[in-house]
């Protein structure tokens, strides 16, 4: 309020009837306790929580009853004290109408709190500013806070902005959907908590300023927030910005555009343009969590529509059945019953009233058919372009509609279908009343399915090719060894036949050949390593290109490059096999020559040294093979590891024997040295693994920000990579020890 904020406008937008005065005339009331609370394990975007209670357990209010599963997840708390009466499949509020596992709690009526305290008290610090970010984020995660605006993205994850520098925190109090007044009432009644939440969030993301965007149809809320700002002396960092009422100004991307003029890149997250956006309700929940240790167990929900007589806002415990909430609001169902969770623009019609209120339930709208008539039959599209004028994302809805109808998925994608935020503005203005959003949802689903199928096929192809390549390489190596052995044997035979005098110079010549071929071999090996590294890199790039529609045209290029690299690797492997064969032959000849010379003493130092070196060489080869196997995710890793351990022992033995022979000292046998190279070898591997973890996390972030269905799968991938990393680190530490 002390700053003059320049406002920007977003393209399109509509002005539907607001219908907010029906529900914001009286204060928020506390909904009476229902007979049972039904708590779905997934009330947020990400992985469902893991149950940690059993049927029959008594739980206290605020007690954790399910723990987060993986990084993108949130715990679940008992909204009141009582008994767990069932853990079973119940229908959950989702457009699909699916059933999922829910924890059912029968309240005991005492509402007894579990012990809880502010984060300051828990950590024993006087000043909240001294609390570290990690502690704050952990508290927010532990309290199960997920975005209360609608999507329900775990807040702690969103606050982990990684490498992005954040300069602005935006609190979304626009509430542009008609009918809904939950945020309006929250801002009026809990303005201080919103401001306090903003302070904490600013501290975490280290942003310079916070903008609270509120539509100008909520003057009371704006006044309350400004008063709270003065009270908290925060008017220098935090601004309450009044924005024009226009749907969908409360869309995250649209609000960011209005307040800062920045655009979140397609497929990206706000952090990429230095912004973190949270709902005002989420901010208040953060304040509760940090200052009072109160987990997220309730929210404000608007109950409105002409089919209820008592319209207003309720403070509702999660798990409260919709039917209970409607009943206390005086619900008079019509013949054609319809109850919408959310607003009339983006909410979804509930398939049943036995569903529970969850973290994202901001509104229950029970309209009469007169108030919101059901859709009329759609007429033909006349391409009037009113939808394009209304679209806030700059799309051509009429074209997307034609592509969707014709199932021209590629064209729909080219016309940026995935930038559609499904706000419904196009359907609202369509004079032919075509359910455009429904078409887009269907087409998005079809494209995702197609992509998944393609990816699966591609992975299968890659696995197959890797397997073939490995088999070929192994065969080539085996052949080379066999040949080398056969030749060596033949040579020995020849040497034995020839005069002993001739043997020495011959052996010398062979040795020179071996020495000459070794640098050659090294060079080839280096080339092979380089080619393999290039292959990995190309594969990564290819993956990235496949994920990123911008780079789509590069996919083919990368694929071609990959094939080329693979060919090169094959050729190099053959060369190496040949070189090795030559080297082996030379070595064998050398050894046989030496053995001839030292025939009398099999334990001579020279011989022992050779033995040691050979063992060491084998160990190196095995390690390399292990690295390769791990790269390909081959199942031979374990076997190789075992072999390496055995080989290591052999090397130790050989070395000890040699040193013993060399020095004649019996104590030279104990050697701790060879463990070190193993640890050293692991360091780059660990680094690579860390990179992989980082990459997987980034991808996950992207998917989350877009709300893609791949989130759980990606999460699993992150966990898997983390496990691998842990395994490597354990190996490294054991190696060092």
């Amino acid at each position: 309020m002390t700053h003059l904020i320049q406002l920007f406008d977003f393209d399109g937008g509509i002005h539907p009837a607001e219908n907010k005065t029906q529900s914001n005339q009286r204060p928020v009331r506390k909904a009476p306790m229902p007979e049972e609370l039904v708590l779905p394990l997934q009330q947020h975007i990400g992985a469902p929580a893991d149950i940690i209670v059993t049927v029959g357990d008594t739980v206290l209010k605020g007690q954790v009853i399910a723990e987060p599963h993986g990084y993108v997840s949130a715990p679940l708390h008992a909204p009141t004290s009582g008994t767990v009466t069932a853990i079973e499949d119940r229908q959950v509020p989702h457009a699909s109408g699916l059933s999922e596992i829910c924890i059912v709690i029968r309240p005991d009526g005492n509402d007894t709190w579990i012990e809880h305290q502010s984060l300051c008290a828990e950590l024993g610090v006087d000043d909240c500013d001294d609390i570290t970010n990690d502690d704050l984020i952990k508290r927010i995660r532990d309290c199960g806070i997920a975005g209360l605006g609608g999507a329900g993205f775990p807040t702690a994850v969103k606050l982990n902005t990684g490498k992005h520098t954040i300069d602005t925190l935006i609190l979304n109090g626009a509430e542009c959907e008609p009918y809904i007044t939950a945020d309006d009432m929250l801002m009026r009644e809990r303005a201080a908590d919103v401001i306090r939440g903003a302070q904490i969030l600013l501290q975490i993301i280290k942003a310079e300023r916070c903008l609270i965007g509120v539509e100008d149809n909520k003057p009371e809320a704006i006044k309350a927030l400004e008063d709270a700002l003065l009270l908290h002396h925060e008017e220098h960092h935090i601004d309450v910005v009044t924005i024009p009422t226009k749907y969908p100004s409360g869309g995250e991307k649209q609000l960011i555009q209005i307040l800062t003029g920045r655009e979140v890149p397609s497929g990206g997250i706000p952090a990429q343009v230095g912004i973190v956006c949270q709902n005002v309700g989420t901010a208040a929940a953060v304040a509760d969590a940090v200052d009072h240790g109160v987990p997220l167990i309730s929210r404000i929900t608007t109950v409105t529509g002409d089919a209820v007589t008592d319209k207003g806002n309720w403070e509702v415990l999660f798990g409260t059945p919709v039917s209970h909430l409607l009943e206390i609001s005086g619900y008079k169902p019509e013949k054609k019953e319809r109850v919408i969770m959310g607003g009339p623009m983006m909410g979804f019609a509930l398939p049943s009233l036995d569903l529970p209120v969850v973290k994202t339930t901001n509104c229950l709208l029970a309209p009469t058919s007169k108030e919101l008539p059901g859709n009329n039959p759609a007429m033909a599209c006349i391409r009037c372009g009113m939808c394009a004028t209304a679209c806030p994302a700059g799309l051509l809805p009429q074209q997307l509609y034609w592509f969707s109808r014709a199932e021209e998925l590629d064209k729909a994608e080219q016309h940026n279908l995935f930038d559609c935020i499904e706000c419904g503005a196009c359907s609202y203005v369509c004079p032919s009343e075509i359910p455009l959003v429904q078409y887009y949802r269907h087409t998005k689903g079809a494209i995702r399915e197609e992509r998944a199928a393609q990816e699966k096929a591609e992975q299968a192809r890659q696995r197959f090719e890797a397997r073939i390549a490995r088999q070929e390489r192994e065969q080539a190596e085996k052949d080379a060894k066999r040949k080398a052995r056969a030749e060596a044997a033949a040579k020995t035979q020849n040497a034995k036949k020839d005069a002993p005098a001739k043997a020495a110079p011959a052996a010398k010549a062979e040795q020179t050949a071996a020495a000459a071929s070794n640098p050659e071999l090294e060079k080839l090996q280096k080339q092979l390593d380089g080619a393999q590294a290039a292959k990995v890199k190309t594969q990564e790039k290819l993956e990235a290109a496949k994920q990123d529609p911008e780079q789509a045209d590069k996919v083919a290029v990368f694929e071609a490059a990959l094939v080329k690299t693979q060919d090169k690797i094959k050729a190099l492997a053959k060369d190496i096999a040949a070189a090795k064969k030559a080297a082996k032959a030379a070595e064998a000849a050398g050894t046989s020559g030496a053995s001839d010379a030292d025939k009398g003493d099999p334990n001579s130092p020279e011989r022992l040294k050779k033995k040691w070196e050979m063992a060491q060489g084998r160990l190196d080869t095995a390690l390399k093979r292990l690295a390769q196997a791990e790269e390909e995710g081959s199942d031979t890793v374990e076997a190789l590891k075992e072999g390496i351990a055995k080989q290591q022992a052999r090397v130790d033995e050989a070395k000890a024997a040699y040193e013993k022979a060399e020095s004649g000292d019996a104590e030279g046998a104990v050697q701790t040295e060879p463990a070190a190279p193993v640890a050293a070898d692991l360091t780059p591997k660990i680094q690579a693994q860390k990179d992989r973890v980082e990459k997987a996390r980034e991808r996950l972030e992207m998917a989350k920000s877009e709300g893609l269905e791949t989130v759980p799968a990606l999460e699993k991938a992150v966990n898997k990579q983390l496990e691998k990393l842990a395994a490597l680190e354990a190996q490294a530490s054991s190696g060092e020890a």
């Binding site: 991307k253 009329n376 359907s427 004079p431 949802r441």
Partner: protein, 350 residues
């Protein structure tokens, strides 16, 4: 207890295709009144006849296709096609020309392509082009002259009926004359502009009747823009292109038709606001609409000036109809979060 589960959004704005089409039809009234006032009842009779034929043809085809007839007739699109054709055809042309043009427009140019929303070409203009090419005599000699040009009163209702339905030649001769555009184009090679404008057809400046007709359609068009039923893009770019082209060549009135005749004569305003703006066959992107409109304006000038026909709205619109999908593909707006707008469609590109 089955609950209604419809997909979001659950609410709808006040827009309705049928209402939009009805408004378009009504917005032609100022132009129709001017036509009737200055040129007699011929156009009015044509509009009524064409509307009836259009609706009847539409109903017939819908029935043949097994569609609910009344539901689709309610969208009023056939009515608009009929009204526009009636306004465009020569006021004193024989009835069967109107019937053929309208029936062809609805049955062939619209329904055979799949009905409303699926026709790549403006149906009214397809019908018009058909009769213009097939019946050149009927289409060029039956233009009523304004009462100022003939010195008689405008054609009365009974006279108009007898010309249109019975082909009474004496009345036809008394009331018809060349349109100003036609007249100027053909005589300017022989006379000076000054002498030509003294001719009865021009009455010193331009024929008062045509001027008011065009202003009437302009008023109706501005009403549509104000009601946000059409956007300004196509009319503005079309008129601007026509204006600039005629300014470039028409400065010498002794060689070419002057600018004010181009803008306020013939079907210029009807074309700019009512025909070129037909959303189904026009370009739909904002930039595309500008290009599309400008293309019509340029083609209109080219055909009027160097072509065989005195007026050319129908051909100009139809030619640009061909180009509309292509223009659309290359003028997509920039989507939020994208640095650049996409251009064109590449097969296999994602």
């Amino acid at each position: 207890m089955a609950l209604l589960t419809l997909s979001s959004p659950h609410t709808h704005g006040p827009n309705q295709t049928s209402r939009i089409m009805l408004t378009v039809a009504l917005a032609t009234l100022p132009g129709l009144i001017a036509l009737t006032w200055f040129f007699g009842w011929g156009t009015f009779i044509n509009v009524v006849l064409a509307s009836l034929v259009a609706v009847a043809s539409e109903a017939l085809v819908l029935k043949m296709r097994g569609y609910p007839v009344s539901f689709f007739l309610k969208d009023n699109t056939a009515l608009v096609t009929g009204v526009l054709l009636g306004l465009a055809l020569p006021p004193l042309g024989p009835w069967w020309v109107t019937v053929i043009a309208t029936a062809f427009a609805i049955i062939f140019a619209k329904q055979i392509y799949g009905g409303m929303g699926n026709n790549p070409f403006n149906p009214a203009m397809v019908g018009y082009a058909l009769v213009l090419i097939s019946f050149p005599v009927e289409m060029t000699t039956n233009w009523a002259a304004s009462f100022q040009a003939t010195g008689n009163a405008a054609v009365g209702f009974v006279d108009a009926m007898s010309v249109i339905f019975a082909g009474t030649q004496t009345i036809t001769d008394a009331f018809t004359g060349a349109t100003p555009l036609d007249h100027y184009k053909h005589l300017i090679s022989k006379e000076t502009s000054e002498a030509l404008l003294q001719d009865a057809t021009f009455n010193g400046w331009l024929n008062a009747g045509w001027e008011w007709v065009n202003l009437g359609f302009l008023a109706g068009g501005l009403f549509l823009i104000w009601r946000r039923i059409i956007s300004w893009h196509i009319p503005v770019s079309m008129l601007a292109a026509l204006f600039l082209c005629s300014l470039m060549f028409g400065w010498d009135e002794d060689l070419y038709t002057p600018t004010y005749l181009h803008l306020l004569s013939g079907a210029t305003m009807l074309g700019a606001f009512f025909i070129a703006t037909d959303p189904v066959s026009a370009s739909t992107t904002p930039t595309g609409k500008l290009i599309y409109g400008a293309g019509i304006g340029i083609l209109l000038f080219v055909i009027r000036t160097w072509g065989a026909y005195p007026d050319a709205v129908a051909f100009a619109v139809l030619l640009m109809n061909f180009a509309a999908p292509f223009i659309d593909a290359y003028t997509q707006p920039r989507t939020y979060g994208h640095e650049k707008a996409r251009r064109g469609l590449k097969p296999g590109d994602k």
